[in-house]
Subunit: 347 residues, 2 copies
């Protein structure tokens, strides 16, 4: 038994062939005689040979690894995206390097630098940045990248995410259809999903001739990380208003979870007193205090699309044209917004 794992050199020497021949067999070149091929394959199996992909990467310039940077691995949305990514990448023999930025732009920058230094073939980022500057550095390195979930205006980049304006209007229209007339919004700041969903919210209200005083719109920072406590605090603010809102569109599910907690603690009922809609449709939405109506963003599909787009970029680096892929949101109706019984009672 050798101390080191076997190398091509070893197999070549033992079989009296050259390293090149072994290499060709490994990569299924067809200019090798069947007998030679058989002997090499045989010996590879015996030795349990594994090509050193790090060495291959050095000469080919391709590591066959993709990087993913997300703000928070614990957030079910990103876990789902990662799952979709992982599925596609595995099928193509690509590895996935994952890193969490903890919503910290500086940390994110560092992690991206690491990935560039590792020469990952392509990097996928749900960015916590405020500016566009850090993407310029990726571009300098000539490493292709794909943004997901959060877009940057003024940056021509490949993007895969949700049609957030539509998500926002869809959620709001749903509340209106279910009898809500004074609809509050709990949002976020600084990233495109909360901003666009708020716009969708406004569009839906306007389309239905509804007016909402600005006090009913609460946008805090840190909507993703610790979204539940943000939602909790925001909802407590809303509960001080008179009259109370009869529906709340929360810009994501963690926020909605916090809001529900605040409502129940205050002794109100969901959906009878206040209806709730979230977004993201986390996989446990149906198991919450009150099963949560949510906008399904098809997060796993976002991951799959991002993976496919990323792999395309690797295959044809020439592509100067960058694509934007919006996955269509879809509302999943659950108890938290179901006022049908309430409407019957009240006439």
């Amino acid at each position: 038994m050798a101390l080191m794992s076997a190398r091509m050199k070893d197999i070549a020497r033992e079989l009296g062939v050259s390293v090149v021949t072994v290499s060709k067999v490994l990569r299924n070149h067809d200019d090798i005689s069947p007998e030679t091929r058989a002997r090499v394959l045989q010996r590879m199996k015996e030795l349990n040979y594994r090509p050193n992909l790090a060495a291959r990467a050095l000469v080919t310039g391709r590591t066959h690894m993709v990087g993913l940077v997300v703000p928070d691995l614990l957030h079910a949305f990103f876990a789902q995206v990662a799952k979709g990514l992982s599925k596609v990448l595995r099928a193509q023999g690509y590895g996935l390097v994952i890193s969490s930025s903890e919503e910290d732009p500086e940390l994110e920058q560092q992690e991206i630098e690491q990935m560039l230094a590792r020469r990952l073939d392509v990097v996928i980022v749900a960015s916590a940045q405020w500016t566009v500057e850090s993407f310029r550095r990726i571009e300098d390195q000539k490493t292709p990248y794909v943004l997901i979930d959060r877009r940057f205006l003024g940056l021509t980049a490949n993007f895969v995410g949700t049609d957030d304006v539509l998500a926002g209007s869809m959620a709001t229209e749903h509340l209106i259809e279910n009898g809500c007339r004074l609809i509050a919004h709990i949002g976020g700041q600084n990233t495109s999903p909360p901003v666009d969903r708020l716009e969708g919210f406004r569009i839906a209200l306007a389309r239905n001739g509804l007016v909402v005083p600005s006090a009913y719109i609460v946008c805090k920072t840190h909507g993703d990380d610790a979204g539940d406590s943000t939602g909790y605090l925001a909802m407590k603010e809303l509960l001080r208003l008179k009259p109370l809102p009869d529906g709340v569109f929360c810009y994501n599910d963690p926020t909605a979870m916090g809001a529900m907690k605040a409502i129940i603690e205050a002794g109100y009922r969901i959906p009878e007193d206040i209806a709730i809609v979230g977004s993201g449709n986390v996989h446990y939405a149906n198991f919450l205090r009150v099963p949560l109506t949510s906008i399904d963003q098809n997060s796993e599909l976002i991951g799959e699309h991002a993976a496919n787009l990323a792999l395309n970029l690797v295959k044809c680096k020439t592509s100067t044209h960058s694509s934007t892929l919006l996955v269509e949101p879809r509302l999943v109706f659950r108890q938290s917004s179901d006022k049908r019984n309430v409407l019957q009672i009240s006439g």
Copy 2:
């Protein structure tokens, strides 16, 4: 502007020094004059130089990357473990390659093979294997590995996980203390956590002189993946029994979520009719139908310990002695098992 990213060679040529000198500056060797060092650093900054870690890995034999294979990225327990891992690894400049086996032993094997081929410095696995065979292959490669969450009897390996027997008895004792007398169990199969927790369950019952007919113990496969539907189905079985159990220890939180759904659908109350305890203490446990009492396994700490152990293995490969690290479980008391005041009005 160069087409390729800068290499040491470029910097060396431009500055009239040797590649070795540049390399030494990069790695903070102290046998370089301050002026030379300054010039090199300056130029590195200007060119935005990033050392090619793939090349470094080839010569040093260290990729500075750690692999993690889990059965399911969506399971909050593993996401939390990954978070703990990630934190420690980042601080040490290590990268994290993550892969999901989807509870499929064959897929897991393939992913591990990939990681070995990539020459990751160490591999951390929450294994879905039935046998010990695949770990032998890792050992052949001389790649150190750490098992987490799931142990294998008869395998001398490094392990970090929960004291599952204690977790099981702790949960069960808790139900007993809260007045339960006919306690059911929903478990899993084939992996050590459900098996050990069931043992803890039995120990606690025996210690308290309680007897539970075998029909009250339901162990299905697939306790992790789609744990909620498993729990749902198992609970429906239990609900057909007479008399009904007055408490259920579910071997993990997803299972408990499914069980709660079945109980509520059947028109029973939690905890008044049936108390529930889970394990894992997922981060949204407090936001479920009924806030869920759960055994906190300190999953993030498990990740941190696993990372530290893994890095130690990398640093001193000589260590023939393998360690087992059990993180102590801790019960988090919430409403789902709170029978102290069954008349209490929620709100």
